[in-house]
Symmetry: C2
Subunit: 411 residues, 2 copies
């Protein structure tokens, strides 16, 4: 008899964003004339930069020609893209990453969800709380989390509260308290960012604990202060204890095109039960070769174009545009008396719900009262309760309208 | 301490095709002037059909415009593609599939590798032997297979030999002998195809055994006889026991573009330990929403164009071209005294190695003696020893040259 993986049944009703999508559609069906402003799912809204469109078109033409056609690509990405990543995302930050330490993929969501698969089932997982749901859900599916309590906390996961007191970026737990920790900076959902000092404490902890840091830097391009680390490999020692995920989704409008990459330095290893050290890059490479089949060639050409002079200029302008939206949200809602966090080095505003009330209730009130869609903090974890995430991804006019609607509705 | 998933260490040295790639490159380095003909990895060689290129270009332009830009797409595929699949791949074969039973993905390799994740670890797996390595390797990674013996057979997997005697498509084992079986028709690697009668025996077995059939129909478009089933859902009862994978890779030149889909009818369920029945589509949908992020929008538009009048005509001409290559290989090598199988409803020729000798030795002799690259049958499983796979994906001139080289070399 075919039995199912019952760990799936321990998951919360649905993945957060489809869940929000369902609530919004049912409201939209009930109120067909409602003019909704969507600041919920963090999805880019600006059209793809011209340099990237040109690269896509050229690659499509190649695919239609006998000389230019390409079938299966190298599983881990074409050299032209891998080399551009090494040069611009790392060498420019004085970090040297080898070509065979970079694994191009179709998304950081996929990579941060799949990385746990090469680790032992008994690994003890730590996450910050609130947290990007994928880190937790994929460990639930793998059976590491156990069952959730009434607040949605899984017994098998160590939650590290991200609070106003710790600047929404918690310090490490006791040495050896976890085997794997997921960190995200700039942070989704809180919009906070980790300093070199804060990351240094984590690298030190990981090395002392022989633990792995899964560092999600999908929003690195939104960091405004050049002194802040873009990559965890700017911290000495990280090359021995950390894997890093980067994405083109938000930095270059790729949410509908799908391209990202994961870095796994050769010195990052995990242990076997007999104590042998296995390079994680070897296992990830085997997984990639077996369960993945490369990113579409035209998409990789578009990603390469992100690093061209025009591509860099155009995508930086888009990032600046979204960050100006973030500033308007932060200042506009702050002036109206809301307590707001984040939005300075990340495209997310972390809003304190008035009186730290229910974030789902605030979601409903914002949806019904202001026709503005956000994301309830509780959806990111128990410690997210009392907070609300607003995304800076929208047109200027819609963002200004949203600020007006929220402030008048709650004024 | 972070421990690794030690099941990965039970895998054979490398995934078969990268392994062949390494051997070929080392030969090519040693013999830089060698003019290699690659009939190994089954990768398309004809340029992308004009109708598909046009669709790609139009979608790229949309992405560059304020009106046309699209961010995150629906995880399971855009309606325009899902509806085209329902209409052309199923309704035209008198099979009705609901929109929410179709899950568009970036590859059948991925889907056939990931499907086991929603099943219980204790499920007993059956595969035909020889077999597409992904089915076995992904179950090894998940811990269902145990350790391999000297012949590379995993103790935890039931192997069903595909032999000349059974037309390279084995019958079901004893009722209840397995919980999940992977079937592939038209078959990779043997090039055989299952009749409705043969599939009927499997559906009957699966229903009686409460087992799941994972049916890989990635090569369905290569079936020449309209009386042969293209989909397992042409067999009554399959909608209660089978999931099906289809791909655009070989039928429309998508190996470098990446688009496929999996069908999971609502009536296909798995049991919990308490006997509750869970629709597999519900679990797969949860997996897709959590670990996947949709196929790139331009790629889905290109896939939609495969079903347009021009797209169908152009891609059918490509399939016919490859099938003519297969006929030439089959007849050319047959006339030279080789025993050849397959190649009539599949783009693969299954060649019997002279005296049923070592298939890796034959690989080396073909590579060094004729500079022709094929795939050793042993790479697909123990019962593949003594056989050799030749792919029909190449230009006419190269295929004819390959036939000449092989026949003269072995004449």
């Amino acid at each position: 008899m075919a039995h199912v993986n019952e760990h799936y049944l321990k998951l919360a009703a649905g993945y957060l964003f489809p869940e929000i999508g369902r609530r919004v559609s049912s409201y939209a069906e009930a109120q067909p004339d409602a003019d909704l402003i969507r600041l919920g799912i963090g999805d880019v809204t600006e059209p793809l930069a011209p340099a990237l469109v040109a690269a896509l078109r050229a690659a499509c033409d190649e695919m239609g020609s006998a000389e230019g056609f390409r079938g299966y690509g190298p599983e881990n990405g074409y050299d032209f893209l891998v080399d551009a990543i090494r040069e611009h995302d790392y060498r420019e930050r004085c970090v040297e990453i080898a070509a065979d330490e970079i694994f191009v993929s179709d998304g950081s969501k996929q990579d941060s969800g799949n990385i746990q698969e090469i680790l032992a089932p008994e690994c003890r997982i730590a996450v910050t709380d609130p947290v990007y749901p994928v880190y937790v859900d994929t460990n639930v599916m793998a059976g590491r989390a156990g069952a959730p309590d009434d607040e949605g906390r899984y017994g098998g996961i160590l939650y590290l509260p991200a609070t106003e007191a710790n600047g929404f970026f918690p310090d490490p737990p006791a040495q050896g308290a976890a085997d794997v920790v997921y960190l995200c900076s700039p942070n989704n959902p809180t919009g906070s960012v980790a300093s070199a000092t804060a990351l240094g404490r984590w690298v030190e902890w990981a090395l002392a604990s022989d633990a792995l840091v899964v560092f999600d830097a999908a929003y690195a391009a939104f960091i405004q202060d050049p002194a802040l680390p873009r990559s965890i490999y700017e911290i000495p020692g990280a090359e021995r204890c950390a894997v890093e995920m980067r994405s083109f989704s938000k930095r270059a409008g790729f949410t509908g095109l799908r391209c990202a990459y994961t870095v796994i330095p050769k010195a990052v290893t995990g242990a076997t039960s007999s104590g042998e050290r296995i390079p994680l890059a070897r296992l990830w490479n085997r997984r990639h070769a077996t369960k993945f089949n490369a990113v579409p060639y035209p998409i990789q050409r578009a990603a390469e174009a992100v690093f061209s002079p025009e591509g860099r200029k155009q995508t930086r302008e888009q990032v600046a545009f979204y960050m100006e939206n973030a500033r308007l949200l932060r200042e506009g809602l702050g002036a109206a008396g809301f307590r707001v966090f984040g939005g300075e080095h990340a495209p997310y505003i972390w809003l304190e719900v008035p009186e730290r009330g229910s974030s789902w209730a605030f979601f409903d009130r914002l949806l019904e009262g202001a026709q503005v869609v956000g994301t309830p903090g509780a959806g990111f974890g128990p410690a997210g309760e009392g907070y609300f995430r607003l995304s800076a991804f929208n047109s200027r006019a819609r963002v200004e309208d949203a600020i007006h609607r929220i402030t008048t509705n709650f004024g």
